[in-house]
Symmetry: C2
């Protein structure tokens, strides 16, 4: 017989966040671990997941048999039916069956899905998007992720690849994006996009508090918040530009989906959501059809760093 | 007891197309009528629908009691559950209950939906999109319409307003669109958009076969076909530009939906579909994620002018 605790993970390029939920859906334990990036040694990353779960079980004084299921969100494309990670942008996984070793190790069901998809699902099941029916999630982070709820269900498209809103082209002559195209939403409104703008301005001799805070092409959200508080001119410009394109993209998404909610999530929104949302609301009416605008609300996510974790929980409860 | 014939209508701004289907789904009668635009005299347009149905019944030697149901596609936004036309861009209907008078007149169920939505549904149930699961329809005409099939169902969004892909902003500095915004997909790739480009070039002293063929801001598709055959330079430029933005928009739609099919329909595609599709295929890989591209096909619609009619039939058969 399966146990009653659900172990949920948010697997990032540099960290694993894990929690244990009891049968009431309450978090009874929490762990955050940094992972090492080890070239193509997938077994090691699998090991980090396994060790994270084991560590949590020990700390929470639980046994394997106490687990009902394990569920994880990861960047990239996962076949949630088979548990195979098809592609990840920052982790060295290609067509990798992550389910089998985890299920064998713990004797419990294992689920996996795209992290931002699950973030939106988490907000839909447990957060700000509860009670809405058609939801588009816009999650700026290092890149720009998206998630879509259609008629109350997570929409993953053909091959679990839907929701790549970060690569909508918003300006064919815009800045070069990591994907090779110009003017993608991500190239303006993600941390990478904002950081590139800031570094460009710094290279022109302008000063910014963030100039020495950009590592591997991105700043940390808490520093952006601080820069905005200081009224750092270059940072304000980067945010204004990011929010302008957030409004453009939001307008197009409203026109396409006629959703009842657009939810903004991810690290930047957790730190600076109020500032971003105000700027987006200021401009969005220019970019969506006036007939559609009245039936859609724009809100910031409410679960913060835990939205993916809650989406992972939703995968378990929907399957149970 | 209801009859066994289904009467399906495609109600346009200037014409009504009607057909009668027998119980096997075969077309046994067909009628095309021009409508007059009469300011806000909605009763008259309702009368045109009623007279079209009556005329078809007479010609086909059928009685009211032979009708199973009547179904119509119209531009704009209709609440298909209540049969209320909420908004139409070219017809003078606002929150207009079209269902009650038609049902009273003929003693048969009446259904109504957005014409392009139904065009995509028609292709999905009876045309080229059969067997696909996630389909996005791109229908350039006077404007630019769209329709979305998600997990095998027509997606209409909150308030039946989804699918306004024509107003995705593809270039914030682009030409002014009828909606008041700049650089909408429609402003480049619809007949209005292409006609505006052609007239602009003509006003600069260039010659085009289409210069005297543009009425009320649009040309007829058959003239565009002829111009392309003649290798009319201005027309070719307009089409190249239209197809470039078709590729940009298609790329974004692929990234958002990861559909298994993009279907191009409407009058332009019926006349010049092969030419357009070749140009779009030439460029689309630049604008969609390489990981998503392999699982999506791009095709022209197969039902031509009848796609809306077949979508109207699908509304009846799905409700039955």
């Amino acid at each position: 017989m399966a146990g009653k605790y659900n172990v949920c993970l948010d697997i990032g390029g540099t960290k694993v966040l894990g929690v244990i939920f009891n049968e009431k859906g309450e978090i009874i334990h929490r762990l955050k671990k940094r992972t090492k990036e080890n070239g193509d040694d997938t077994a090691n990353i699998e090991q980090i997941i396994i060790s994270t779960v084991k560590e949590m079980l020990e700390e929470a004084k639980l046994k394997k048999s106490d687990i009902n299921a394990i569920s994880a969100g990861a960047p990239g494309v996962s076949d949630s039916a088979s548990g195979i990670v098809l592609f990840t942008p920052n982790l060295p996984w290609r067509n990798y069956d992550i389910r089998t070793p985890i299920e064998e190790k713990f004797g419990a069901k294992f689920y996996i899905g795209n992290d931002v998809n699950l973030g939106v699902l988490g907000e839909y099941k447990y957060g700000i998007a509860q009670g809405y029916n058609n939801v588009v999630g816009v999650f700026p982070g290092t890149g720009m992720g998206g998630g879509i709820i259609v008629n109350g269900k997570l929409y993953t498209g053909t091959g679990f690849k839907a929701g790549e809103i970060g690569h909508m082209v918003l300006d064919p002559e815009g800045p070069l994006c990591g994907c090779g195209q110009r003017g993608c939403f991500e190239s303006f409104s993600s941390k990478k996009g904002m950081s590139a703008y800031i570094m460009q301005q710094v290279s022109r001799g302008r000063e910014s508090y963030l100039s020495d805070k950009i590592e591997n092409g991105v700043f940390r959200s808490k520093y952006l918040k601080k820069a905005l508080k200081m009224n750092d001119k270059v940072a304000v410009e980067a945010v204004d530009r990011a929010c302008h394109y957030m409004a453009v993209a939001t307008g197009s998404l409203i026109n396409i989906f006629s959703p009842d909610l657009i939810v903004y999530g991810g690290g930047i929104m957790e730190s600076c959501g109020d500032i971003f949302l105000e700027k987006i609301l200021d401009e969005v009416d220019k970019y969506c059809m006036p007939s559609i605008r009245p039936t859609v609300e724009l809100k910031c996510a409410s679960l913060g760093d835990d939205s993916v974790i809650y989406g992972a929980l939703a995968m378990i409860t929907e399957a149970d």
